[in-house]
């Protein structure tokens, strides 16, 4: 058996992390992207820059700040402790928070582009037909922005799969809890177990490729269907 139990556990944790992160980001990222696409406020560009930050910041910077922020002396850690909770570093929840920040632009930007592409016209038409703002959002904007949702979900998921730097900094490499696949690969490479490293890397490569192929394939279909 080329895949050990610990490797399989790492794979499962990675999938769980990516699924939860994508779910959370779709829920929180959709209203944010909608606001970014529709708002005419002068200082919107500041929010856009903040959303894009994880694209350019090295993951080690994010991980380092998170380690300090989540720690007992940091702001988030202090709030958690005051509420009777436990600090979040070295926990799966901590990884979800880190991943959500890390993958934020990959979800918000495609959604924002999709909402912008919908334009004013269909929404105005719906409004003249007495659709409420919520109705307009769910029955007009969301269906029209469907390719954007697909791209956002797949990119968010795939990007979290490949996450390494943030997890390395705040995960603590606990088997069955915070050891994700990229960390397991790193461990194998460092301890010269190239066979296992190859086996795990191949899974990640294949999986990421299939995901991206799906999203590009479907996007082409959507484009052909829509005039």
């Amino acid at each position: 058996m080329i895949y050990g139990n610990q490797d399989l556990a790492a794979l499962l944790i990675t999938l769980k992390l990516a699924t939860m992160t994508t779910g959370i980001l779709l829920l929180t990222g959709t209203p944010l992207a909608w606001w970014l696409a529709r708002s005419r406020r002068r200082f919107k560009f500041i929010a856009e820059a903040v959303v894009a930050l994880p694209l350019v910041l090295p993951p080690t910077v994010l991980g380092f700040y998170l380690l300090i922020a989540l720690g007992p002396h940091g702001p988030i850690g202090a709030i958690m402790t005051a509420m009777g909770g436990r600090p979040l570093a070295f926990t799966f929840s901590g990884l979800v928070i880190g991943s959500a920040i890390y993958s934020l632009p990959f979800v918000v930007q495609p959604l924002q582009d999709a909402f912008t592409a919908v334009g004013e016209r269909p929404l105005e038409v719906a409004a003249t037909l007495r659709a409420s703002p919520i109705d307009r959002f769910f029955t007009v904007a969301v269906p029209l922005a469907r390719p954007g949702f697909l791209t956002a979900a797949v990119l968010g998921f795939a990007h979290t799969l490949g996450e390494f730097g943030v997890v390395l900094m705040i995960g603590g490499n606990i088997p069955g809890s915070t050891r994700v696949i990229s960390i397991a690969i790193y461990d194998h490479v460092e301890s010269l177990e190239y066979g296992q490293a190859h086996a795990l890397s191949a899974i990640l490569l294949l999986f990421s490729f299939l995901l991206l192929m799906t999203v590009y394939g479907l996007n082409h279909r959507f484009k052909r269907v829509r005039p």
Partner: protein, 247 residues
């Protein structure tokens, strides 16, 4: 006129200085980085050559060296990797020597957290214990041996957080995210020999000696000079003061 002349003189001096002074690139295990920085400065002041340092875990540096990283010498945290490099013909035969024996310490930045016999480990009134990954780092392996010796390896398994190297293990404790951890004595000892926080200096009978060896990767005059400087009495005194036992 004088300005041009001064400028020209400066260019000549600069050119002469760069031509005479050579630069070596030294890979060093994370635990030894602060100490070798001091040694490097001394060597630079003495000879005018430059010592550039690349730090990381011994395992990673080993893999990079085997794959052709342009490094002149390697200060590992163990004896195994330098020996392997020698056997593989990557390192220069006969250049290998022991420069220090690492000492491990159970440490917390909080006063009174760790007692002088390490009984805190058995009491278990902490959430996380940080250590370097035993698979990758010699200091991690030593920590594992100590915990096994105490019969706590299985009990504490769920509370251990593993740093990729001893530097990260230290960072986990120092940031307060783990209450205590096994770190290198050299990481917490101050210039006057004091240690802040609370600690247990683990008796050396509880773990195999962490024999740290250095090896030459290229036949280079300056690198040879640097390695023999490290073996000098002056350098050994610095290494000892930094929290290591010396050969």
């Amino acid at each position: 006129m004088t300005i041009t002349r001064t400028a020209m003189a400066m260019v000549v001096i600069f050119w002469a200085a760069t031509a005479a002074a050579a630069e070596i690139r030294v890979a060093v295990a994370s635990n030894f980085i602060t100490t070798i920085r001091i040694l490097g400065k001394r060597f630079e002041a003495k000879t005018g050559n430059r010592v550039r340092l690349v730090s990381g875990s011994t395992g990673k540096l080993y893999a990079q060296i085997r794959n052709g990283a342009p490094l002149t010498a390697f200060f590992a945290a163990d004896a195994r990797r330098p020996r392997m490099l020698e056997q593989e013909g990557v390192a220069l035969a006969g250049s290998r020597f022991t420069y220090a024996f690492g000492r491990i310490i159970l440490w917390s930045p909080t006063a009174g957290r760790v007692d002088h016999e390490g009984r805190v480990l058995n009491r278990g009134d902490f959430r996380y214990l940080s250590l370097a990954n035993p698979k990758l780092a010699p200091y991690g392996r030593a920590a594992e041996q100590i915990l096994r010796h105490r019969g706590l390896w299985q009990t504490l398994h769920g509370r251990m957080v593993r740093g990729e190297n001893i530097g990260q293990a230290f960072q986990f404790v120092n940031s307060g995210n783990a209450e205590l951890g096994f770190v290198a004595l050299s990481q917490v000892i101050s210039a006057d020999g004091g240690i802040r926080g609370s600690f247990w200096k683990v008796p050396r009978t509880l773990y195999d000696p962490i024999e740290q060896q250095a090896v030459l990767l290229r036949d280079n005059r300056v690198a040879r000079a640097f390695l023999s400087f490290v073996r000098s009495d002056t350098a050994m005194a610095i290494i000892k003061k930094s929290g290591y036992a010396i050969p």
